[in-house]
Amino acid sequence: MILKLNEITKYFGGIAAVEDVEFEVKEGNIVALIGPNGAGKTTLFNIITGALSPNQGSIIYKGKDMIGNKPFQMASAGITRTFQNLQLFGGMTVLENIMAGAYLRGKKGFLQSFYTLPRKCSEEKRIRTEALFLLEEIGLAEMAELPAAALPFGKQRLLEIVRALASEPSLILFDEPAAGLNIVETETLTNYLKHLKKRTSMILIEHDMETIMEAADRIVVLDFGRVIAQGTPAEIQVNPEVIKAYLGEDEQIA
Amino acid sequence: MGEQLLQLLFSGLTVGSIYSLMGLSIVSLFNITGILNLAQGEFVVIGALIAVSLCSIGMPMIVVFPVSILLAALLGGLIERLTINRARGASNLNMLIITIGISISLRGLALLIWGTDTYSLPAFTKGGPLFLGGAALNPQSIWIFALAVVNFAGMYLFFEHTYWGKAVKASVNNRTGARLQGINPHTISLLAFVTAGGLGAAAGVSIGPITMVTYDMGFMLGVKGFVAAAIGGLSNVSGAVIGGLFLGILEAFSSGLISSSLKDAISIIILILVLLFRPEGIIGAKRERKI
């Protein structure tokens, strides 16, 4: 088990955005977090990555309680994320985005950076090679020198995913990675996520049911900040409460 | 001792009203356009210098006052069209630098037309100082204070109690939304600068009799105005007035009771403390910062 949430609760102005949320992520698993808009999914992501601190509860990651850590400390512990509204480093090149994402893979500080020629630096070479490898894997290698902002939207989504991967985290939080992608792109993404299971555990917020059913090992359903169900895709698919609360009467799972 | 304190209070209120006037203009422009105008002090100077010229050709003060306001307002509008309007969508920093450019150019213009001499303006009402409780009070101080109050009341009513005022304030954060409400941000920006020019001149003409007018005094006035505005919370009209008065009184009392050489240091330290610990201003309610 890599991550365990206990009784996570967060209030905004007296209203609970998430309440008593508990679930676990097993190593190498993809856990999908689903629920209607405003169910508290992104808030939960913000809590897990340290951007928000919960009013109560604990985040046990690799056996340690992580409450009170800032996002960069969470990242160095091995938890990274992507964003629903893309947060690429738009003015930097695609390659630089990945290399910046691999920040934790290097050690050189401010002063050392100042007096070392980057091309004489083995660390720099290694990070560059690794970054190029990651880009190649997802088919962005020939765009390495383009500014990230110049990529088409779908590629930007991919780039952000690769950037999160570059630090070699043990847990990645994906916030609606398939939003805005076309059918072909979504399929590529789904396959890629499955492929990533060898390297890392994942939590996935997604509305695209096809992706979820295909990729997720477990599903956690949130509604009004509470976990109303969790289980395997097959279990969730037939859970009456979920169908009632989330999927609605008229929507069918394909 | 009581007389001395009263005297310091009068001095503080006089200077404080001047700072409030500066702070008010800065805050109103900031509220409307989101631009921190570093050239506001120059508007004041140009307005006052126009009045100096008008007075010198024999116009009575009652005519000089509105005419200078009108001319300075026109200048404000012209500047907006020539600079700010052409730089739509520039970043905050770039806008700030454009206003620095405006301030430099206006200072040069003032130097060119009026030279380096210091001028004074006639007081609105004749007669010597009033003595209240043994402390002297210059009648012009009362005028300045009154102008600050009128300005404040006008802005407060506009921003807080009219539909347009609220809409305009909201349009800073949301340009599209503003357009939907039928507000054209470019027109608003023009009007804001016209107002800033006019307010500047009004301030200039009324403070002139006390502060005198030199082509290069604008920047310092502007800086004091910022400090006043920042102490008051930067986007808050009542904050600017209170910030200005607070700053003026603080300066008067610290130079009158502690040391005249530490006066500026004390007010800057207060500024920094406010920025660090109460960025919403000394009176503002705690809330999330947007900027």
């Binding site: 990274t80 950076s113 100042f114 091309r119 999160a164 | 905050n92 206006l106 800086v223």
Partner: protein, 328 residues
């Protein structure tokens, strides 16, 4: 051949040729001033262009450097080179002390706070009579010397300042393209995303702030050893604003921006001084100021990304400025 090598050769050639060919002390002094300002603006450029933090108080660090060098040599008779070292370290230390709190502020609030800091230090220069000589300043500062070699002519000082500048350019080029440089740019682009990549943005911003203060202190120390007289007037907030202008005019986040900005602003005022009277007979400083202001406005209106973008027609990272303004 690697670009860095070419760059090194070009700049060395430039220093060599200028120092051999130029005879005019005036030209040297202009180049020295450009060099000193470029050193400050390099640091400010890292802070503003990469870490995305504005400072309207860098004249304070510049002044602290100058006063440290002046006081240690004239009052305590330190060797000049040791005093120069202290002139770098002291502003850096002060930046470290005030930085963490100050850098929590954003944009306009940060601008006001740094402006306030600058004014405070300026007041200290004026009031610390015992040490600083008050408004009358400190005179008879010795020339910088290393052993028996003194930098006592404009030519020697030019070589020194530009050699320092060249090393800095090289170092900053390293920095910008290193792990740290990428992290700094990442913070500017999206602080939140940078944090999620494990970048400690508060600490890096602080380091950039300290770095820029070190460079301003270095320039200040060199200035004191060059002019050999200092008074508070040179370190007022006007100077701070001028430095920000140089950084922005040159182009933020670009390699040549700081040098270009410093050169253009200094050269502009010198050229206007020579040219304006030719265009408008009898014209004095008045026109210079107006023209200077207008050029500044035009530049910001039509070239908001700075002058170095003029040379970057073929640059493969276009739309940088657009990106920045579109970000929320």
């Amino acid at each position: 051949m690697k670009k860095t090598t070419i760059f090194g050769i070009i700049i060395l050639l430039f220093i060599l040729i200028v120092s051999l060919v130029v005879k005019s002390n005036y030209l040297f002094s202009i180049l020295i001033i450009i060099g000193l300002y470029a050193i400050i603006v390099q640091g400010l450029g890292i802070l503003m262009g990469y870490a995305g933090q504005v400072s309207f108080g860098h004249a304070a660090f510049y002044g602290l450097g100058a006063y440290t060098a002046a006081i240690l040599t004239t009052r305590y008779h330190w060797p000049t080179i040791a005093a120069l070292l202290a002139a770098i370290i002291l502003p850096g230390t002060i930046a470290a002390l005030i930085g963490r709190q100050t850098l929590k502020l954003r944009e306009l609030y940060l601008a006001l706070a740094t402006l306030g800091f600058g004014i405070l230090v300026f007041i200290a220069f004026n009031e610390g009579r015992e040490f600083t000589g008050g408004p009358s300043g400190i005179s008879s500062i010795p020339f910088l010397n290393i052993g028996s070699f003194a930098f006592d002519s404009d030519r020697k000082f030019f070589v020194l300042v530009w050699a320092v500048l060249a090393l800095l350019l090289l170092g900053i080029n390293n920095l910008v393209h290193s792990r740290t440089g990428r992290a700094l740019r990442a913070i500017r682009e999206s602080e939140y995303a940078a944090e999620n990549a494990g970048i400690d943005s508060a600490s890096l911003k602080l380091q950039a702030f300290i770095f820029s203060a070190l460079l301003a202190g270095l320039a200040g120390g060199l200035y004191a050893f060059y002019i050999t007289f200092i008074s508070p007037a040179a370190f007022s907030y006007h100077a701070s604003i001028e430095f920000v202008l140089m950084a922005v005019v040159g182009g933020l986040g670009t390699f040549w921006g700081p040098l270009l900005g410093a050169a253009v602003i200094v050269a502009l005022s010198e050229i206007l001084r020579e040219v304006v009277p030719l265009l408008i007979p009898g014209a004095g400083g008045e026109y210079q100021i107006i023209i200077y202001g207008i050029i500044l406005i035009l530049l910001m209106v039509y070239k908001p990304e700075g002058l170095s973008s003029l040379g970057a027609v073929f640059d493969r990272s276009p739309k940088r400025a657009e990106q920045n303004t579109n970000k929320q």
